[in-house]
């Protein structure tokens, strides 16, 4: 974990609600693993007060990319930062996506909306490890799929879905997953998106006995384990006590998560 209070934004790309920053931050980039996140300061004034947890989208040598959606006042402020300005970031934080397996085989990466963010870094790393990577990217409408071309350029096979049928498969990304599971047998799933989508994907994984890694989103006070604000009930560990998403997660095995209480 490193603290870089002057990480320079060297590239920025904007879509309506979505934004991508490339940030020069050599020390954090050197340590970063797929699935980990940054705590980003969004304001120098007392409101919004807290840093925002934002997942690492990509790593390029000395820089990292973040890809995020405006979800409130904090991310709205962040989205207005310009190329050449600096960010105050802490990271990389949390546990990574990739399990310590000898052989990963066929891996399906399922991203809903902004949940696609960590899957680009993950897909590239999995490919390096020799996995066969398939990405399923779902959104409400075409405008929610801004980074789809980027995956293709990186040689990551991708199928898209939209709820309204404006692009790709017409339906939920979890329907797409269900179709894929009928055709092939993934060895592992990596899932990130809205809770309802992740819950459904986890059910499919359980029904087909496919191990699944799930990345949870949460508001956080600190991001490094001190405030105990971002907890979720996790099975099997510590007798079902509340566990911190920032430190014990954000990535968990699907069967560890108790969804009923996650609403």
């Amino acid at each position: 974990m490193q603290w870089d209070s002057r990480a320079k934004i060297i590239f920025k790309q904007d879509w309506d609600d979505y934004h991508l920053f490339r940030i020069e931050t050599p020390k954090i980039a050197a340590e970063a693993r797929p699935g980990q996140f940054l705590m980003v300061r969004v304001s120098d004034t007392p409101y919004p007060l807290l840093r925002r947890p934002i997942s690492i989208h990509s790593r390029e040598k000395n820089s990292l990319e973040i890809f995020f959606q405006v979800a409130g006042q904090g991310t709205a402020l962040l989205s207005r930062k310009k190329e050449g300005e600096t960010l105050d970031i802490i990271g990389p934080l949390g546990k990574e996506f990739i399990p310590d397996w000898e052989h990963l085989g066929i891996a399906y990466l399922i991203g809903g909306g902004r949940g696609i963010a960590p899957l680009y870094f993950l897909g590239k790393e999995l490919k390096k490890l020799g996995a066969e990577v398939h990405v399923l990217y779902g959104g409400k409408t075409l405008a929610d799929l801004p980074v789809k071309e980027k995956f293709k350029k990186a040689g990551l096979g991708m199928t898209c879905s939209t709820d309204d049928g404006s692009f790709g498969f017409h339906g939920f990304v979890t329907d797409l997953l269900e179709n894929e599971i009928r055709k092939t047998t993934p060895q592992i799933l990596f899932i990130c998106g809205p809770d309802a989508m992740m819950n459904k994907a986890a059910e499919l994984a359980a029904a087909h006995k496919i191990p699944a890694r799930i990345s949870l989103e949460s508001m956080m006070g600190c991001g490094f384990g001190a405030c105990w604000g971002c907890v979720k009930r996790i099975k099997k560990s510590d007798n079902g006590k509340w566990r911190k998403i920032c430190e014990d997660g954000p990535v968990f095995w699907a069967e560890e998560i108790i969804w009923e209480e996650a609403e």
């Binding site: 490094f224 001190a226 405030c227 907890v231």
Partner: protein
Amino acid sequence: MMVDLSVDLGFLKLRNPVLAASGTFGYGLEFAPFMDFDKIGGIVVKGLYFGPREGNPPPRLVETTGGLINAIGLQGVGVEKFSEEVLPKLRELDTAVVVNICGASDEEYVKVIEYLDRQEGIDAYELNISCPNVEKNGFCPALDPDTTRALVKQAKAAGRRPIIAKLSPNVTNIVEIARAAEDGGADGISLINTLLAMAVDVETRRPKLANIFGGLSGPAIKPIALRMTYQVATAVKIPVIGMGGIMTAADAIEFLIVGAKAVQVGTANFIDPASTMRIAGEMKDFCERKGIKKITELIGTIKI
């Protein structure tokens, strides 16, 4: 210019007046990557019950204008795990270590103190009688002077170390409670704990916290904290440690001017994990600029 930042609480000498506040600083070690412990006065570690404690269901945090409402519910590891796994590491830090003590009953407070009294490396106990998140409707012992007096007395008798009573702002007359703590034998008073608060989601019309209520902290509460610190510091003889929304040295110095002998920095640690160290450094700069040789020259100098 050499500036002497040290303060003497009578029962505890501090390198400088800046302590990290309980509940915002974990068990201390979480902040090791960000700061030097030998640059601050001390740390107050997260509240400890005798056993491990579950805490409240999420959502536990909500951000509000200039503040943060939390309803963590004192989730924690308990005294045994703390003493075995954390305390040996805290002993190696060159800073004062204060342990925040919780209890679901008078007996539990006593049990926690008796257990910790057998451990080395603790400078004082801060008696947490003011957490608004563990009982219904924010109830806590510090809402009543008689309960406060009796509990402080028992805590004082239970152990060998100084007792700092941490008071709640959710009372009609803070001075009455502070005097009760002094009467009960407290060596010092720290205030304020968080203000009982709530926030509502207008879309769902549901409270934003699962616990409904939580405790408000951050810059939004500083004026209230300062007023209460002033009232208490002028009413009791024991040293007062002020806190509530301190983000900068100027904030901290306001508390000293109204009579606090030391301060605690809380919510700021989340945003700037080196806040305590930075604020102590900025205090020195302030003194240099003003030609103040000893920080104690500022304490209780409010001109009214």
